[in-house]
Point group: C2
Chain length 390, copies 2
C-alpha cells in the first residue's frame, strides 16, 4: 500500500426533499451572499431552482443568478461568474445541476480570490491557495464531482479541455436527492453508470501491491452498480436503485476507493479525444475505449484481470488458463455495456478510422510523451487502442 | 436505503514517518498553541512524543503537556485539561496514543468553550455547539476514534461510562503511521481486530432494505481484515498488513460503511458490562458476546446471516436449510476469534455466571427498557445472551 493523504470535508445531505436544506447549509458553512449557478432550463422547468431559491430566502440569504453552464463548461461563463462575485461581494457559490454546473461553479470559486487568470490553475501554471466556499444540489449522477477535488473546464480559446485538482475544489456540502434523477433518460443514466464504473476501474487496475482492502471495496461497489443497472433501466423511478447509483457515483470518485494505490487514468485521457471530436458523451466514449484498453494491457498482469473477472463478474477461474478468465471478464463488461444501450465500437458512435492519427496526436501525454500508469503508453500504444475500437 | 447525513472532515495523513507532519498540520488547521495530550510511558519511551514535540517546535508552535490518560479515560483528567487550556489560552488539542488519549482529548476540546460541565454532553443534558480543534497521532488500532464522531469517557464519580457523538468530535486531522503499531502485542492486536470487525458487524446486521452497496463494502472490509489477521499474528512487523488493519480500523467506524442503514449496537452495550465488571478488554468481551448475540437473534432474519456466512466466510449456501449456513458462519467467526487468541466464553475471561443478573440490570437501555435495533431486546433477552456466553 502506498502512503496517502485523504481529505473529504464535504458534508453530504442524502435523501428525499434534501434540496430544501440548501439555505440552511449555506449558512452553516459560512455563506452570507450566494451566486446561484446552473445550466439550462431543466432545473427551472422542474421547479427545483425555485425550491432552492425559497430555501435561501427562508434563511435571509441574498443571491445573484448565473445560468447557462453547458456540458464541457466554458471559460467565458467562468470569467463572467468571477466578475459577478467580485462586483457583488458574493462569498458562496451554490451550483444546481450536473457535473457541468458544478465544475463551472468550482472554477468560479477558485478564481474569485485569485489575482491572476483562473485558467492558470488548469494549465498547471499556478496552485490555488484560496477559494470561495461552494456547495451543490446534484441532478445528474455520473462525474462524481459532488465529492471530488477536481473540476474540468473547456477554454473558449481553442476549445482546450483541462482539469484542475485541489482540496479547494471539495464542496463544503453536497445535496443528494435520488428523486431528482428520476427524469434522466435511459441514455444519460447509462452514460452515468459507465462513467462511475470507469472511475472505479481506473483505480482498480494498478500495479501497487498489497491493496486487498481497497480492491475489495472497489469490487463491492462495482457489483452493487452492476446489480442496480438493469433495475434502473427497467424502472427509472425506482427510488432505491436511484439511491444506490447516486451514492455509488459519489464514492466512485471522492477518493475513498483509491487510497494507497497508484491510479491509471489512461482510458479517460484517450476517451477525451472522442468527446472532443465527435461531441459524444464521456460515458459512451468510455464504453468503447475501456474494454479495448483492458485487452491491450492485459498481458502486463493477467492475474489482476482474472481477479476482476472472478470477483466482479462471477466468472469461474480457469486455473489452467487465467487469460481465458480475464478475457471472459472483458466480454462480460462489454455485454453489460451493450445491455444498457451503450456503444462498443467507433461505428456505434459515428467515429471515423481516418481520424485516429489526429486523435492519437492530440491525446494528452506527460513530458516524456507517455500516458497512463498501469502501462506507460506511448503514442503508438494509444493508436493501437484506437484501432481496436474500430 | 435510509436518508442520511455524512460529515467526515478529517484530513488523513497515512504512511511512514507521518508523525513528523504534526506541527505542519496543527498550523494548517489553525492551531497556534497546543495541548499535547497522551497516556502512559510508551509514547515517551518509543521516542514518538519527542518527534511530535520537535515537529511543533519546528513550526514555532508552543505547547503544554498533559499525560496520564488511561484506558476508559477518566473525567478528572478531562477537567484538568479543560482548566489548563483555558488558563494557557490553548486553541488546539493534539492527542498522541490510542483510543483513550484521543477520546480524552476530544472531551477536553468539547469542554473548553462550554460554560457548563462537559459531562452534560455525555449525559445528553446538553448538545455541543462549539469545540476546540483537535487532531491525533494514532498508536493503537481498534476503536476507530481517529475518524469517528464519538468519544467515550468514564466519570470518576460512580465510574459511569458514557459516550457522546457530535460532529465536533471529528478530528481536524489524524496521523496514521502503521509502523507505530509494530510494538502492539498479539493480545492488543487481536482485540483491535475483533473491535473493528464488530464496528462493521454492528452496521451490517440491519433490517433496512436495499442496502446492497453498503453491504458489499462491509463484506469487502471484513474479508480484508480476516485475510490480514493471521499474517499480523505471524509477523507483527509486516508493514503491509499493519497498514491494511490500520486503515480498516478507521473506515470501520468513520461512518463510511453505515450510511443509509439502521445500525444495531446491542452487542457493544452488552459487552460494556463485562468490561466494567472484570476490566476485560473491549475486543475480548466482544469476542465472547457477539457470536452469541448472532445465534440469539438469528431467526429474525436467517437470510441476512446466511449472506454473512456465504459472502464473508466463504460458506457454501445450503439452499434446503439456510439456517445451517448461517450457523456455519457463526462457527467460523468463533473459530477465527479463537485462532487469534481471543476468548469465547465467560470461563475464558474469568466472568462469573452469578454476576449475570447484576450485569443484565446495569446494561444500558432506552426509555422503553429496550436495547439494540436489529432486535429490540428486553432485559430478559439480554440475560439469555449472557447465559449463552457461559
Amino acid at each position: 500500500m502506498n502512503d496517502f493523504r485523504l481529505y473529504q470535508p464535504t458534508y453530504y445531505a442524502f435523501g428525499k426533499d434534501t434540496q430544501h436544506l440548501a439555505g440552511e447549509l449555506v449558512k452553516r458553512f459560512g455563506g452570507t451572499k450566494v451566486l446561484l449557478h446552473y445550466g439550462g432550463g431543466s432545473v427551472v422547468r422542474s421547479g427545483l431552482l425555485d425550491q432552492v431559491k425559497k430555501s435561501l430566502v427562508n434563511e435571509g440569504i441574498p443571491y445573484h443568478e448565473l445560468g447557462g453552464a453547458v456540458p464541457n463548461p466554458r471559460s467565458d461563463l467562468v470569467y463572467e461568474g468571477i466578475e459577478l462575485c467580485r462586483k457583488e461581494g458574493i462569498d458562496f457559490v451554490l451550483s444546481v445541476g450536473g457535473g457541468s454546473a458544478i465544475d463551472s461553479g468550482k472554477a468560479i470559486a477558485l478564481g474569485v480570490p485569485y489575482d491572476g487568470d483562473f485558467w492558470d490553475f488548469f494549465l498547471g501554471k499556478a496552485v490555488p491557495t484560496d477559494g470561495l466556499r461552494h456547495g451543490c444540489v446534484l441532478t445528474l449522477v455520473a462525474t462524481g464531482t459532488e465529492g471530488s477535488n477536481s473540476a474540468v473546464i473547456m477554454h473558449n480559446d481553442g476549445m482546450v479541455k483541462r482539469g484542475a485538482s485541489t482540496d479547494f475544489n471539495r464542496p463544503a456540502f453536497s445535496i443528494l436527492n435520488p428523486e431528482l434523477t428520476y427524469t434522466l433518460n435511459p441514455y444519460q443514466t447509462a452514460c452515468g453508470i459507465v462513467d462511475m464504473m470507469a472511475h472505479i476501474m481506473e483505480r482498480y487496475f494498478t500495479n501497487t501491491r498489497d491493496v486487498d482492502l481497497t480492491d475489495r471495496l472497489c469490487e463491492g461497489a462495482l457489483k452493487a452498480i452492476i446489480t442496480a443497472a438493469p433495475k434502473v433501466m427497467e424502472n427509472p423511478r425506482d427510488y432505491e436503485t436511484r439511491a444506490t447509483l447516486m451514492w455509488a457515483g459519489t464514492i466512485a470518485h471522492n477518493g475513498s476507493l483509491g487510497v494507497g494505490r497508484q491510479e491509471d487514468w489512461g482510458s479517460h485521457n484517450i476517451e477525451h479525444e472522442l468527446s472532443a471530436l465527435y461531441d459524444v458523451a464521456h460515458g459512451a466514449g468510455l464504453s468503447v475505449v475501456m474494454p479495448n484498453w483492458i485487452k491491450y494491457v492485459m498481458d502486463t498482469n493477467v492475474m489482476r484481470f482474472a481477479q476482476f473477472a472472478v470477483r466482479v463478474w462471477n466468472c469461474e477461474m480457469n486455473f489452467e488458463d487465467p487469460k481465458a478468465t480475464a478475457l471472459e471478464g472483458v466480454a462480460k463488461l462489454q455485454a453489460f455495456n451493450k445491455s444498457i444501450g451503450m456503444p462498443l465500437t467507433f461505428a456505434d458512435i459515428g467515429a471515423r478510422e481516418e481520424d485516429i492519427p489526429l486523435m492519437t496526436e492530440k491525446t494528452r501525454s506527460d513530458a516524456k510523451g507517455l500516458q497512463g500508469n498501469f502501462v506507460r503508453m506511448t503514442k503508438k500504444d494509444i493508436e493501437a487502442i484506437f484501432r481496436m475500437c474500430v
